[in-house]
Symmetry: C2
Subunit: 331 residues, 2 copies
């Protein structure tokens, strides 16, 4: 019950229960065979002593690793938080522990974090996207642990990839606007150097406009991280330059909401005067006066599936979780 400087070990429990160390270990892990009587005595001793197994020691002694490392670009963006949650939940059920770090969208930082993570000998390392520094890839390859790349399947995965095609999402968005009759479509986005997935959506969007025989979109690409404020500024800037636009595709919902708020304030009728489309399917975007037309992505599911594949030690594969076009009231 009370704490002690020299902690209680397996051996203490074994002595208290009058059994051997290995027996206690077997009972606690419910692995191997032992009698019901033994289990009861061991559990009683554990209870009495207030024993808490030391997983550090366990991890060192056993072969498989109980840790899974996750490096996300950001936590301000709810997208990664959702993925993280899915991963953590699934790992928890599998008796694994998630360790994480935030790269702030910097490849060099991601590299340093992956290096630090590998020192924990994780069963797997999970990263956002398929683009990584050469050093990151090399380390990962040499580490011999599983690698899961999330939220993107447009490219060549190292091992496991779970996500959806951002390029296709961009195409679908463009097509939706074209089909709805819009012809002068612009784009407002954030830094695609950092967020390569947004870059892929933009590429798909451009392709489809071209295929539809439309002029390349007027674009306002801001060299910063996405945010509602930047979306607002971006749309204002774009409209100042190209007032004839009838629709704008945004790099994601944060940016799109910014644009939408600009319209509300500037008295621009949506979608009559200007249609707006986002990406991600954020909860808040469903509850604006007019629900935002966007593409909903299965973030939680992506995290859960990736974690499950790691738990199952599944063979290398790419899982396309798809996405869903949400027809709101802004296009």
């Amino acid at each position: 019950m009370e704490q002690r400087s020299t902690s209680i070990t397996l051996l203490d429990v074994a002595e208290a229960a009058g059994v051997g160390e290995s027996t206690v270990s077997r009972v606690l892990r419910d692995h191997g065979s032992f009698s019901e009587k033994t289990r009861a005595r061991v559990m009683a001793a554990v209870e009495t002593l207030g024993y808490v197994p030391n997983r550090i020691a366990g991890a060192l002694a056993s072969t498989g690793s109980p840790l899974v490392a996750i490096v996300v670009p950001s936590l301000s963006n709810i997208v990664f938080a959702d993925v993280l949650r899915g991963v953590a939940q699934t790992l928890e059920a599998g008796r694994r522990q998630a360790v994480f770090a935030v790269s702030e969208y910097e490849p060099s930082r991601e590299e340093a974090l992956v290096a630090a993570m590998l020192a924990w000998r994780p069963a797997a390392v999970m990263l956002a996207g398929l683009e990584h520094a050469e050093g990151t890839r090399r380390m990962l390859r040499a580490a011999g642990c599983r690698i899961a790349e999330l939220l993107d399947i447009d490219g060549t995965p190292q091992d496991l990839a779970v996500g959806f095609s951002n390029r296709t999402a961009g195409r679908v968005s463009a097509l939706h606007m074209v089909q709805r009759g819009y012809r002068r479509i612009g784009y407002v986005g954030h830094d695609i150097g950092q967020d390569t997935r947004a870059g892929k959506r933009l590429a798909g969007f451009r392709e489809t406009l071209a295929e539809a025989g439309l002029a390349p979109a007027s674009e306002d690409i801001r060299a910063v991280r996405s945010s509602v404020g930047e979306g607002r500024i971006g749309l204002a800037a774009l409209m100042a330059r190209q007032p004839q636009l009838d629709a704008v595709y945004f790099s994601n919902d944060d940016m799109a909401l910014g644009g939408y708020f600009h319209c509300l304030e500037a008295g621009i009728a949506v979608p009559g005067q200007l249609a707006i489309m986002g990406f991600n399917g954020l909860d808040i975007a469903r509850h604006t006066p007019q629900p935002l037309t966007t593409i909903e992505t299965p973030r939680d599911e992506i995290g859960r599936i990736a974690a499950q594949l790691v738990l199952d030690d599944a063979p290398p594969q790419t899982v396309d979780c798809g996405f869903r076009l949400v027809e709101g009231a802004t296009v």
Copy 2:
């Protein structure tokens, strides 16, 4: 360079560099003394072999723990993600590793997660708020590790507490509305059984209304987690019952934004016909057509300070990080 089944150990590096194990350990940790010549040889061997130290073994052998455990109620709520980021960043600089889990606002789950976390022998366990299951408190006390309770200082901390007074925040909000001349003030909130911090804000809010000689607020408290949609529904319900209200205090910005969107859609003038006030200071709430009047909380700072206190092994204390009233355009 290439991976091997039996991994490269300190001993391999020591032999390659022609020095002893302890010397390699000293060089890699930059701890103790060694010559520049030795460092160079060791580093060369590390490079050649592609050696990655095993932190699991290191943690087991050394006294202090490199891990810090964090259990947050949710990751959907950006508030906790912000705290998590602050913690992770600061720990990283201190060569510690964050491990985390999500309790989904369930005390029993928090208890189970804390138990699981303690098996990692963390240097500290960080939790949201001061209210925890009795079992959680007992385990934490017995564990003998540092405890940091975040985002709330209204109560009796176990060890470290870093946050702000939610009760005071509630009082300040009420006072602000009263001072602005509002007299028929309502409240729309989410489940305060789960989110005790929201409950404390509500308590402060009620106190101040009473002190101002105003009638108790009409309240619409929804027994669910906070969300924009619920805020919207909640305000609609409250206004249907109490159309004479001239201001509404929301349990947080998510709820408040929902209320604001309802007003935009229902044609209720804000703040002329109805004033709206939130809590948290979310980024998006700064960019709505009218910026939301709210209270901004230093979430990132709370995470950083808590992590720093743990790194410094500071004595038990409560740090009030305060909050800031943001005068938007909705009150």
